[in-house]
Symmetry: C2
Subunit: 498 residues, 2 copies
């Protein structure tokens, strides 16, 4: 979240200059009007053919992909290939939810006929009501205006009001226009989707009595502030926040023996992708003390080149955080990439520290640094500097979106070490990656993008994949309802579960 302001100005990260004319922040009265419209649209949206409407949004975004990518590239400098891919991911998400709606399983219906003293009970999921979605800086499409939170909430039957991210206002506005037009074209009720701009509008939205839930992807500080607002309302509402994650990676000795060059290059690639601006960026990597591996990592990192970050604030935050990290006793610079061009392009960097020094300063060293920067912790296999021991001490922190193990699956010692790690990793991360890298989150039915606090504020929920719809649903059970009054999915003609 940024400071309050009347005008929302996007910037070109390649130059630091304004990108396009500023947009006005949304006044409180307009927010009230949008929430009232969302509330009015709610009954009709519950009854609407939402699958068709989601498909229409996807089609509209696909049709305008070049225009959207050009707008976003100017405001984010993430580049045309990545942004084109992100639009495809976004429309893929919308279509995943339209499939889910047609399949119907998201309603989680359970029908139990009366038996003895037990009444007839039939349970079905219902949408919460109008919800607020806070867009993320680092995904101008997939976690923004028509991104996963919006798609899953609309699919659930919840009208959505998005709070645009200040890093890409023009992209947000255009995406919102296309989304609104597509919904209107599909015959959806007016008011089922809209957008607001500015910090004050966002706070007003979260406190509005008509809002019944909030989705958020962003910083721990901003997320905690919004979580507090949600909890302190006269009627508290669920807050689904995805905050910070350091995504520890554990490289086991067999993997080093098998493929140290591949690990080094994979790490450098994952660490610097998108200027390191991913919630799944591999911030801490534990490796055996091995000169060849460290030198391979140093070489791979030296070959990377900095690219502009999304905002001046993000760049300056990274620089300040790195100064703090470099000042921790025992931390040394292992390698740097080449400086990027423009005012907000950091130099990729990897630091190294021994497991002993890491343990002594773990609280400072496991801070998230949002950017192309990581720390490599070297351990001695077979003694108490081993990752499983560090984990038992809690030094890796309590909550991450992901954790990664690199092992040689044919090496008995690696497999045994992984077995020792797994029960602990299951407690601190929502996804465990083997022999890969945490960046890149498949949007599927099995996916879980979540984790214990601070990774998320609601660890049972995911913000990526089909199960993301569950955040916006609550069950209702009908007891002994006359057939004529049963919702359609609960009627006896439908398939019953259990």
């Amino acid at each position: 979240m940024s400071d309050d302001q009347d005008l929302i100005q996007g910037y070109d990260p390649r130059t630091g200059e304004p990108a396009g004319a500023p947009l006005p922040a949304t006044p409180a009265g307009d927010v009230d009007r949008l929430v009232a419209a969302a509330e009015a649209a709610f009954p009709a949206w519950q009854a609407f053919d939402r699958a068709t409407a989601l498909d229409a949004i996807a089609a509209a975004l696909d049709e305008h992909v070049d225009e959207l990518v050009a707008l976003a590239d100017r405001e984010t400098a993430l580049g045309v290939p990545r942004l084109s891919g992100e639009v495809a991911r976004t429309t893929g998400q919308l279509r995943l939810f339209s499939e889910l709606l047609r399949d119907g399983s998201y309603q989680d219906t359970v029908v139990e006929h009366a038996e003895g003293a037990r009444p007839d009970l039939r349970r079905v999921n219902r949408p919460l009501g109008p919800v607020a979605v806070f867009a993320a800086s680092n995904f101008p499409f997939a976690f923004s205006v028509a991104g996963g939170d919006t798609a899953s909430a609309l699919a659930a039957g919840c009208p959505v009001i998005v709070k645009a991210h200040e890093a890409h206002p023009r992209t947000s506005l255009r995406t919102a226009e296309l989304t609104r037009e597509a919904l209107r074209g599909a015959g959806a009720p007016d008011g089922v989707f809209d957008i607001v701009f500015g910090f004050t509008a966002g706070v007003h939205l979260v406190k509005h009595p008509g809002i019944t839930g909030v989705g958020f992807t962003g910083s721990t500080r901003g997320g905690l502030a919004l979580a507090k607002l949600c909890a302190e309302r006269p009627t508290p509402i669920p807050f689904y926040g995805e905050l910070g994650s350091v995504n520890p990676v554990f490289v086991l000795p067999g993997a080093v023996a098998q493929r140290s060059a591949e690990i080094a290059s994979g790490y450098a690639g994952s660490l610097t992708l998108g200027s390191g601006q991913f919630c799944t960026n591999p911030g801490i990597m534990f490796v055996p003390e091995d000169a060849a591996l460290l030198s391979a990592i140093a070489e791979a990192v030296s070959g990377t080149v900095g690219t502009p970050m999304l905002a001046e604030r993000i760049h300056s935050g990274l620089v300040a955080g790195l100064e703090e990290m470099a000042a921790v006793p025992g931390v040394r610079l292992l390698a740097e990439g080449k400086p990027g061009e423009g005012p907000w392009a950091p130099t990729p960097a990897v630091y190294a520290v021994s497991a002993e020094d890491f343990r002594a300063h773990a609280e400072r060293l496991r801070e998230e640094h949002f950017g192309p920067v990581g720390i490599v912790v070297t351990y001695q296999p077979g003694n108490d500097s081993e990752p499983s021991h560090l984990l038992k001490l809690g030094s890796v922190g309590e909550g991450h979106l992901t954790s990664t193990i690199h092992l040689d699956a044919d090496d008995d010692a690696d497999v045994a070490a992984a077995r020792d790690l797994l029960p602990q990793l299951e407690r601190i991360a929502g996804r465990i990656v083997f022999n890969g890298w945490p960046t890149g989150v498949a949007v599927t039915h099995a996916q879980h993008h979540g984790g214990p606090f601070p990774a998320t504020t609601a660890p049972a929920h995911t913000s990526v994949g089909a199960a993301a719809i569950r955040r916006w649903l609550v069950p209702v059970v009908y007891q002994d309802a006359p057939a004529a009054l049963l919702p359609e999915p609960l009627r006896d003609s439908e398939g019953t579960k259990k």
Copy 2:
């Protein structure tokens, strides 16, 4: 929650005299020791045959039913038939969860093999960790030491520490002893279940870093205080609170024409059951202005007899609340039952008010009165005093565990009126009862005992029925895991979902 005290003294509600010797409150050091033991037991409990252990607890409670009922009757005065039934319900709950464990569906596994660029992803539910359960006053067995929260959390794989309710310390202690012994006899790891006594011990438990979630059934005030503690921890944890509910009942004109005497007697019975100490007590009933119905209600209520409440504090709270309600303009006493015996036995009472006066003073009149007391709101069918209109005005409040409709299912006007009510009732209540009464909650797979705030603090979750286990589970997804490292339910030999 009561004030802090070093000794926990139970009382006989029939006399107001102490029941048995007091028990010492649990010192903070002992709480720490129990949490450490729960944490140590967690890995072994995850791997344990928990179904057999739950069955062993159920068998032990059944075997000691007479002793338990005698203890509880002395401390609660709820009577032998009700308490015997409640032990059976409690052991039935334990067995429901052992069945669920054997069936395995609670793990919600989703297996997706790699396809194109998509990795192999396999998701499974995992237990949160050690949890705290706050026992309720009004269900000394079913919502207490070995009640639904404990059974569902143990089933999930979470060690449990119960905070006993002060209204029945001796019953709690004996139930805990039997539970511990049964677990030990089944070979469960030490520390997987224990109990603490006293307000201070409960607060210490909730703030303890080793506790990963809290279940609570009780007052709105107490629940909100604990919810705040959970949210303000350095690592916030989920708080599943069931707080207050007024459970509105809507009687439609056709139902009155069809069976007004049955409605009157059913209402009086539901209202006064267990001295009205149920979270599903029908606190507000909307009826057509009909002299015969009102007179039938008055007659039915006059035939009821007061019974002792669980605690002096509960009784005095009810008396104070009724004085406030009776002072609201337009509210009149419709009928009273016969006074009960003993110092804590209230006189059942029903008040009446017109829909107009209700609307004018709705905030005061929809307060929950925990006891055998209700208010009947009379409306004129066909004008804006109708329930659906009152609901649109929000005057019935935002969150209830249940809502009830009485209608003649063959009466077109009733069916139409119910259709108008239902979309609104789905938003304010987790269970919609037709032509019955909200007290009595079947423990089944379809059941949902939850609702919007203040009914619960987590409206997507239930505290009764098989789905209650979901509160204690979080998903973990394995990405590209070697077969040897996959958890057993995710291996290819197992059935796959999706």
